[in-house]
Symmetry: C2
Subunit: 105 residues, 2 copies
DNA sequence: ATATTATATCGTATATTTTCGATGAACGAT
DNA sequence: ATCGTTCATCGAAAATATACGATATAATAT
């Protein structure tokens, strides 16, 4: 965004927006679902299941890693990704709090 | 995104990503909080509370309206916005379902 | 040592988002 | 009828996101 004004908001609102941003692409939603459904979680396996190139998938993994929702562990020439349940649980809690603030239901 | 591939994902994943996208900016998080905290919800009141120009705020309102999280009602020369609790509750339910799928917690 | 495999990163093209000021449209008041 | 108020939209600029192929890196296998 042109001369981004994001720093003028609260840390809490920025964190919520950042978590939401990480989820704001169907490929990343799909990746999270795949990671939870499979025992194995090598990049190659993920790429196979997405209609995207390896480099693009790598970028989506990077974005999920950036906010801490997933972690990658190097395993020889491969990298094994998995969901960071702790961060994810925390993210869910933060989102729940938001909904409790904004939703009369 | 260059020649977007989003249509190659499921409707569910795209909807989840779309909801997340609407929340993926601190200004929009803030707007939802403001709308819930105030009885009055004219655009002017919202603009006052954000470090953004009127036209920029109008665009953020448009994005929230696009996914159905808020509604605007014309009231003379003013427009009164409010949260669409039905859509918001549905969005929360969809997000909860996602978390239940991807989170071991 | 070299080749193979797996993944990340770079460079680049295109699309989208964010922002603003200016303008337009709709309404109420004078 | 004109003026001020309120808000949406337009046009433009800059930033960010998405995507790909090519290349780099790192580990294993030969």
């Amino acid at each position: 965004m042109a001369f981004s004004k994001k720093e003028e908001f609260t840390k809490e609102d920025m964190r919520l927006a950042d978590i939401a941003k990480a989820l704001a692409h169907p490929a990343r939603i799909r990746i999270l679902k795949i990671l939870n459904s499979m025992n194995s979680c090598m990049v190659g396996n993920i790429v196979e299941q997405l209609p995207l190139s390896q480099s693009t998938v790598s970028q989506h993994l990077k974005e999920l890693k950036r906010v801490g929702l997933i972690e990658g562990e190097i395993d020889g020439p491969k990298v094994c990704y998995c969901i960071n349940n702790k961060t994810l649980a925390k993210a869910k809690k933060e989102m729940d709090k938001l909904y409790s603030i904004i939703c009369n239901c």
